[in-house]
Amino acid sequence: MSIEVRGVGKRYGDFVALDDINVSLPTGQLTALLGPSGGGKSTLLRIIAGLETADSGSVEIEGVDATKLPPQKRNVGFVFQHYAVFKHMTVAKNVAFGLEIRKRPKAEVKAKVAELLELVHLSQFAHRLPSQLSGGQRQRLALARALAVEPSVLLLDEPFGALDAKVRKELRDWLRRLHDDVHVTTVFVTHDQEEALEVADEIVVINEGRIEQIGSPDQLYDEPANDFVMGFLGAVTQLGPVRLRPHDIEVAVQPGVPGAAAGVVQRALRVGFEVRLTVDVEGQAEPALVVLSRAHARALDLELGSRVWLSPTTGATSVPLLGEVSA
């Protein structure tokens, strides 16, 4: 295990930021800490980096107890949401900083900097100041700077949060590929479930200072431990006694399926290739949301006021209403 977090707690006054967190992250894995803002995920990352001290519990990095170590001694690379580049240094100097602190020979520093700038595609900007770079370029610079010291773990705090949507998507793909090349144990914090599902090997869902679930993207999506995880990872609707995803509902225009709930189509909204239905289900306060393909909707000949019968598709992911954990 590269990172072992045991029983970590942290409070700010009355506010409980983290409550008895236990998690172990294997070497070489790309892990996402996913959760809503203020849920404690950034605090956990900063405790691992030594930028905050936990009130209780311990942090072990590469088998060494790091609980009491200052950030300087942990050999972690940290990447900030707002880049935190050294504005008065050139791009190359930024990357060289950690190596110079470690008093590496000049030739070695030079070679390493050149290698890293190549890796993050910034070689031609080596002698520019950070102010001459775009946001995406600055974040790649910050990443190169963190990787230069060959950290045992790489920690990224909302690394793409300050970038616009298009650049964010590019950098996300690029981070995945980079990780496949470099294989450094990586933890990144995000509140964007799509980002986590797309990039991470494993996702730790954190909410209100507690871990809700740990698992692979597929596990989380298919077998959410509870209502919160299910809701956080995608759209959720209610059908009878369970909550499930709107595309996991089968629509029939005639009764027949055992246990199907009858209802009336209240609204139909076409968005691109899909159709979103709002169905008033008998005996249910909340209307159910259903998503189906446009072709399917046309085949069923649905319109406002149509009577429909809804049932979960076979193998649908669902959690019981109000229930914490499905049996």
Partner: protein
């Protein structure tokens, strides 16, 4: 935090943007004319008169005045004292700003007000205030009257706020992330200060120091009571000008004055350059 009485944050220049500005109307044109006439009458013409008086006797006379042994000694003393004070202020001013921004202790707000007092006090009062503690009737037995140390102390007093007040806002705005980044890259607190924080403060320290230097070169009021005006010993440039005026040597006074004017203009130019460099770095 930054209630400065005379904010030394450098001149308030309008931006270069000229689009979106109105064109002069007849009314505003007259306003501009009146303003320019008044500005000329009050500032430009008198300053031109100084330059004219200095140039009246030709380059030779100008040069002779400045290289006269007694005048030269006064100029040298002024520059040396001002330079010393500037160096001390660059260091101590930065330390004071650091403590006021980063440390937290009871009474810090009072210290913050104390910084402004040397600016707020009339200069002659500043001299008098220093003399009560360090003058002939000093309760601590130190008498600085008519000594170079006295001039140094007076200049230190009147220039105290410059570096502090220019560095303080920059220090407040510094990004904590950057210091955390340096720490996680292995930099000690001292290294972080030397290689990350200090370089960010250099433009502000330069700006504050040049303001302080210009002030020290031209200081008059606080030195009147302290400096004994002994030629070759404790006579500074501004007091030398006064002596020239009182001796009805207007050309001599103007020659020294032109030199002081030059320092003032160079300071303004330096500040403008620093401001632009900072703006470019973003």
């Amino acid at each position: 935090m930054t209630d400065t009485l005379v904010a030394p944050t450098g001149p308030a220049r309008p931006t270069r943007r000229s689009s979106g500005l109105f064109r002069l109307t007849p009314t505003s044109g007259i306003g501009l004319g009146v303003a320019l006439v008044w500005f000329s009458v009050l500032v430009l013409l008198p300053l031109a008169a100084v330059v004219g008086a200095a140039a009246a006797g030709g380059w030779g006379a100008f040069w002779n005045t400045l290289t006269d042994a007694q005048t030269f000694a006064a100029l040298r003393l002024t520059v040396v004292e001002a330079a010393l004070v500037t160096v001390v202020n660059a260091v101590i001013g930065t330390v004071v700003a650091w403590v006021l921004v980063r440390d937290k202790f009871f009474g810090k707000r009072i210290l913050d007000v104390v910084i402004d007092i040397p600016f707020a006090l009339p200069t002659i009062v500043a001299g008098l205030v220093l003399l009560t503690l360090y003058g002939p009737e000093s309760p601590v037995g130190i008498n600085i009257v008519n000594t170079r140390e006295g001039i140094f102390l007076a200049l230190l007093f009147v220039t105290l706020p410059f570096v502090v007040r220019t560095v303080q806002p920059v220090l407040i705005e510094l990004d904590a992330d950057v210091e955390e980044a340096a720490a996680s890259l292995g930099a000690s607190r001292f290294t972080t200060f030397r290689r990350i924080i200090l370089p960010s403060l250099v433009p502000a320290i330069t700006a504050g120091s040049s303001l302080g230097f210009a002030r020290a070169i031209s200081e008059f009021g606080s030195l009147v009571l302290i400096s004994g005006n002994t030629p070759y010993q404790t006579e500074v440039a501004s007091l030398k000008i006064l002596k020239f005026i009182e001796g009805d040597n207007q050309a001599g006074a103007a020659a020294v004055a032109v030199l002081l004017l030059l320092v003032a203009i160079v300071t303004i130019v330096v500040l403008d350059l620093v401001a632009r460099r900072v703006a470019r770095r973003g």
